[in-house]
């Protein structure tokens, strides 16, 4: 009997693994090896400029991070960047999704516009904002001057705070659409009966939002949070084109520093260690996210 009872799930398991095999093979062949290799390299002193000095140094690269000023500063910039970008993205995406979830003339057009930034490669996004923020001929300067809000052209990206905020804004514009789609999709599945019930209870708009919309949106919101955290932590092309990380260290995020360490300084060992710290942080946040879902009890895999 026991054998018979177990046969069925075993068959499913085999079938499932067979179905997963193509995807797993592609990923294992192409990514698993580079990932393992990069971890191995992170345990080495490995600068492509000095191949003869390469050697295994265990966790020394990681230990050195604790006193690595560039790394610590970049980590701080990144944390702030993630907070600002994430905060703005979530708030703007939520409002935009709520607007799009209503019926009004021009809704289709607005939805189309909401998809526009998604179609823009990060490099092009950086170039676009560079012409807009330009100190001499930029559209932002032109617009604000014509509206009478400023008296003369400003060099927006020359102060640390300015560069940081404008870079974050450019990044938000680029990453907004994906969040909007997910949140809008979530909103579109809220059964209208729930709202009707709330209306009968004479709940005001705010109460309805808090009591019906937010709980229902919790899951899509968390998905947005996790994906956008990952994206913001790894944001590179827009910043690179817009400020190159400056002025000073103001926009040198950990992702930018990592690319610079690997590609410009050819320090593959240290760069890999940076990358694994980024991975660990992203993983921690994701675990937190999944834990949160479990507690909510609606994580069904």
């Amino acid at each position: 009997m026991a054998v018979l009872a177990e046969r069925r799930p075993l068959g499913d398991t085999a079938k499932a693994w067979a179905l997963n095999a193509p995807a797993m093979i592609v990923i294992a062949l192409l990514v698993a090896y580079p990932i393992a290799y990069s971890f191995w390299v992170s345990l080495q002193r490995n600068n492509l400029k000095r191949p003869r000095a390469n050697k295994f140094i265990g966790f020394d690269n990681y230990q050195a991070l604790l006193s690595d000023q560039a790394f610590l500063s970049a980590l701080k910039v990144s944390a702030l960047f993630v907070l600002v970008v994430l905060g703005l993205t979530v708030v703007l995406a939520l409002i935009l999704a709520l607007v799009l979830n209503e019926q009004f003339r021009g809704r289709g057009l607005l939805l189309s516009l909401a998809l526009l930034p998604w179609a823009m490669p990060g490099v092009v996004n950086g170039l676009m904002w560079r012409t807009i923020f330009d100190a001499k001929t930029g559209a932002l300067n032109g617009l604000l001057t014509q509206l009478g809000l400023i008296d003369g052209y400003h060099a927006w990206l020359t102060s640390g705070t300015g560069a940081f905020l404008f870079t974050a804004l450019a990044q938000v514009w680029n990453t907004l659409p994906f969040s909007v789609i997910i949140l809008l999709a979530g909103l579109s599945t809220i059964p209208s009966e729930l709202y009707d019930a709330a209306t009968v209870d004479r709940a005001g708009a705010v109460q309805r939002f808090v009591q019906v919309t937010v709980p229902w949106l919790l899951h899509p919101l968390l998905i947005v949070l996790i994906l956008e955290t990952m994206n913001a932590f790894r944001a590179f092309d827009t910043i690179y084109v817009l400020t190159g990380g400056g002025p000073g260290d103001a926009t040198t995020t950990i992702a930018l520093l990592d690319v610079q360490t690997v590609l410009t300084f050819t320090d593959f060992g240290l760069g890999s260690a940076y990358a694994w710290v980024i991975t660990a942080i992203t993983l921690l946040i994701s675990v937190g996210y999944i834990g949160l879902l479990y507690r909510k009890g609606n994580f069904e895999v």
């Binding site: 995807a23 390299v41 607005l110």
Partner: protein
């Protein structure tokens, strides 16, 4: 005529409508203005593009910036002509790479996602998280080993190298999107088909997949965008116009000597149009496709 009587009685300021339209207009401006600026610039002459105050509408509209991609003028050939010359090729390459990535992704992800949505099996959660884990390692960490791998396989500067790498990037997310959508497809559909003695593949092809279309569209568009927008791997894995994609060429514009703003803007516009058309064509399905996924786990 009765409405005329009723209006004053029931008239309330439609706050909700007003707020809605104000927000809609504000968002529309926020979304479109930056892009409008490069579109406008792409139809301007260089002198007008850097004018102060800016010309919001091209005062001497010209197609020169676009025509230059087909027939570079003598001046363009002289200065930094390579990025200009490569733009049409890179658009073709991007289209081929992104489309192939989307297709390959759909095939691989559909199989995998089906298993998560229909079969109970041990290790399924671990596997799902493992897929996602491969996306958490930043690209820069794996780019050099990846380059070496592609070199060993002799795939440098080919479409295949890019298609394979983007497929691995997009797969984890597309599997998640699809598994959630597939779950929302009622099992009864397949069971009914099986009663009709359709084989498993027939069932999938003619019954299951059509119902799952919105999810497939969402996944495909996601994969397409991932491939279209990626820069760093394209930079390393390609070297000639045989495989360079549009972000790589766009980056050339940023660093080339003597690049004109206006030509750069035209290239930027061209880089946005194909994925935008795709997203617009499928926008309804896109939202539907994500809908199932974002609500359930």
């Amino acid at each position: 005529m009765s409405t005329v009587v009723k209006v004053p009685l029931r008239y309330r300021i439609p706050w909700k409508k007003i707020v809605l339209y104000v927000l809609a207009v504000a968002f529309a401006l926020y979304l479109v203005l930056p892009f409008y600026w490069i579109v406008a610039m792409s139809f301007m002459r260089e002198v007008d593009a850097i004018a102060v105050p800016p010309h919001w509408i091209p005062s001497h509209p010209t197609l020169e910036n676009y025509l230059g991609f087909i027939h570079p003028s003598e001046a363009q050939q002289l200065v930094g002509g390579r990025a200009i010359d490569e733009t049409p090729y890179s658009l073709r390459n991007s289209l081929i790479v992104a489309t192939s990535t989307a297709v390959l992704n759909l095939v691989l992800a559909t199989f995998a996602a089906y298993s998560f949505s229909r079969l109970k099996f041990r290790g399924s959660q671990v596997l799902l998280v493992l897929y996602l884990l491969t996306r958490m390692v930043p690209g820069i960490a794996i780019i050099i080993p990846f380059y070496l791998l592609m070199r060993t396989l002799g795939l440098l500067d080919t479409y295949l190298a890019l298609i394979l790498s983007y497929t691995t990037f997009a797969l984890p997310i597309t599997i998640w999107i699809l598994k959630d959508f597939f779950r929302s497809v009622p099992r009864e559909l397949e069971e009914a088909a099986r009663v009709d003695r359709c084989g498993w593949f027939r069932t999938m092809w003619s019954v299951f997949l059509p119902v799952a279309a919105p999810g497939l569209v969402a996944a495909a568009v996601f994969a397409f965008m991932t491939a279209w927008n990626e820069f760093m791997f394209a930079l390393f894995l390609t070297s000639t116009k045989a495989a360079k994609t549009i972000p790589v060429v766009a980056a050339n514009f940023a660093t080339d000597f003597n690049t004109q703003f206006t030509v750069m803007a035209a290239a930027g516009v061209l880089a946005v149009v194909p994925p935008l058309v795709l997203a617009l064509l499928f926008q309804r399905k896109l939202v539907q496709g994500m809908a199932a996924g974002s609500v359930k786990g």
